[in-house]
């Protein structure tokens, strides 16, 4: 499937696109109403480019129709429900038929097989099991390949390290933030993960930088792969790094990808950066048409050295809804992180605190002091603080107050990282 010639793949995509649009049109009232507004019918979709005629779906649509309003299958056919953690108000609910689970498992198995997860591998899955799609998505994909799966779930870091050592874990699945926490803890315990059997890691569920990848690869002695997904579309399993780690191959036989300008909503040509928009091509229970992911990326031109015909998307470094506007300047937490990692002395534990003084936005970045950056000389520490502030000002184009804080004072989450506290009055 991964090497299917493009014309054949695109014929398959069009066939599936027409079928999924027809299904949503027949069964999802919100989608039909939006189509009517645009005066579009399923018959108007005669090429992949015609997808641009279709209405977008956004996250609030899923909240507004909570819990089951976008389902296109009867509950008798739905065999699984997942939901987002829902930090604000109601969660987002997603549904799967038996066929949907089969597609999900198959794309996850294809993703994990790329760098060679196989029978004989001992896989430790640190994604949380439960309503979150991470745990079970990875679990079934790895099982399909015949690997031995340890459903470790997140948290209890010392036990994770013990399992890695005692069970001879060869492959690990985790959010990058949590795995960095595992590395820190191992370091504190005097355990060297490089001495273990670990060889591969898959990381996802939040944006992470190339510098984080290098740190993970060096400290754990593994190859670290980016696996992209989002619950609304399927969960993990939408795209994945190949061994060249030069962009993530999208499983285009099941997901149709477009890049749009988030402001004008126009489709952008290959290579241009914008918001990723995804259409589920084979989903039955909850087909989503032109779902706006809020993730900023680009479709990469040219073919990959690995020979896959599947198009690549650049790694997602930031989400359009992560964007902070500070004194009119767009700032992303990932930019702060990339600066901290340039000072390779600095561990990436940081917190952005936004306040407002006399109507002017103030940005403070708290950075935890690590043994590597600590000096007994105050002048050296002050110089470091200043260099960090100066570099951030250059990169972010806005003034930043860097504050050095004691280790372990910034709250850690064992799942996704909390990077921003916004105390500005809105």
């Amino acid at each position: 499937m991964d090497y299917m010639p493009r014309p054949e793949l695109e014929r398959l995509q069009l066939k599936r696109l027409r079928s999924v649009v027809q299904r949503a049109w027949e069964r999802v009232p919100l989608f039909r109403a939006r189509m009517n507004e645009r005066e579009v019918t399923p018959e108007d979709i005669n090429s992949l480019a015609d997808a641009a005629k279709l209405p977008f779906t956004v996250k609030t649509d899923l909240r507004d129709t909570y819990p089951f309003g976008l389902f296109a299958s009867s509950m008798r056919e739905v065999v699984r429900l997942h939901a987002s953690s829902g930090t604000t108000g109601k969660p987002i609910v997603v549904a799967y038929t038996q066929d949907d689970l089969e597609v999900w498992t198959s794309v996850m198995a294809r993703a994990l097989a790329v760098p060679g997860v196989q029978e004989g591998d001992i896989v430790q899955n640190c994604f949380n099991y439960g309503l979150f799609t991470g745990g079970l998505g990875y679990h079934y994909g790895a099982e399909r390949l015949g690997a031995t799966v340890i459903p470790a779930s997140g948290g209890n870091t010392e036990r994770q390290i013990m399992l890695m050592r005692d069970f001879g874990t060869t492959v690990v699945f985790s959010t990058p933030t949590y795995f960095l926490h595992v590395l820190d803890r191992a370091d504190e315990l005097g355990v060297d993960l490089r001495q273990m059997s670990l060889r591969i890691g898959f990381f996802g569920a939040e944006p992470w930088t190339d510098a984080m990848r290098r740190r993970i690869e060096q400290a754990a002695g593994i190859k670290a792969f980016d696996l992209y997904g989002l619950s609304e579309i399927v969960g993990p399993g939408i795209s994945v790094d190949c061994v060249h780690q030069d962009g993530l191959h999208i499983f285009e036989d099941h997901f149709y990808a477009e890049i749009i300008n988030p402001e004008t909503q126009q489709v952008l040509p290959e290579g241009e950066e914008g918001e990723l928009v995804l259409t589920t091509l084979s989903k039955q229970a909850m087909p989503l048409i032109r779902y706006r992911t809020r993730d900023i990326t680009a479709l990469m031109p040219g073919t990959c050295a690995c020979g896959r015909s599947l198009r690549r998307m650049r790694r997602v470094g930031r989400r359009s809804d992560d964007m902070l506007i500070i004194r009119g300047v767009n700032v992303y937490p990932s930019q702060v992180e990339s600066v901290l990692l340039q000072f390779d002395e600095a561990a990436p534990h940081y917190l952005i605190i936004l306040t407002s003084e006399h109507g002017l936005d103030q940005m403070e970045v708290q950075v935890e002091v690590t043994p590597r950056i600590f000096s007994d000389k105050v002048a050296t520490m002050e110089a470091l603080q200043k260099r960090l502030s100066d570099t951030m000002r250059q990169v972010l184009q806005t003034r930043v107050q860097v504050t050095l804080v004691a280790p372990s004072t910034i709250q850690r989450s064992e799942g996704k990282a909390k990077r921003v506290i916004d105390r500005r009055k809105i």
Partner: protein, 143 residues
């Protein structure tokens, strides 16, 4: 000659100063000298303790960032000219002092000056040739 000083990163809040001292006291470690260098936002607590290895281990286990550094301790004789005499000797050298602090020592009226020099070995040589006596490690630290 070389004394091992421990530096601990501390935020400018009382608990960051008190807690590490209490931790060491509870472990039966004697704090021989203490100094806090502060900036607007943070401080560096410098300690000379009876057992620096055990102290460093305890502090690190408690989550502190700790750095051992070698310093020199010069004994200052009593009397009005004591301090000036030593400083005069240092003045004539070309040594770069990163920082220094003083603390009283022993039962008499003696004091100790702790120096953090950029080049420790050069400092030892120059102080010795100037006739200034430095404390041996054993006089301040058990190990």
């Amino acid at each position: 000659m070389k004394i091992t000083q421990l530096s601990v990163f501390a935020e400018n809040k009382p608990r960051y100063i008190v807690a590490p001292c209490r931790l060491l006291a509870d472990a039966g470690i004697d704090i021989r000298a203490i100094s806090l260098a502060e900036t607007l936002h943070f401080g560096v607590l410098r300690l000379i303790v009876s057992d620096w290895r055990k102290s460093a281990k305890l502090l690190e286990e408690a989550g502190y960032v700790v750095k051992p550094t070698e310093v020199l301790a010069v004994e200052v004789p009593g009397g009005p000219s004591g301090l000036a005499g030593v400083l005069a000797a240092v003045e004539t050298t070309s040594l770069n002092i990163e920082y220094m602090y003083a603390f009283p020592f022993g039962h008499g009226d003696k004091a100790i000056l702790v120096f953090r020099f950029e080049d420790l070995d050069a400092a030892i040589e120059q102080l010795q040739s100037a006739g200034i006596s430095m404390l041996a490690r054993e006089e301040l630290q058990e190990r």
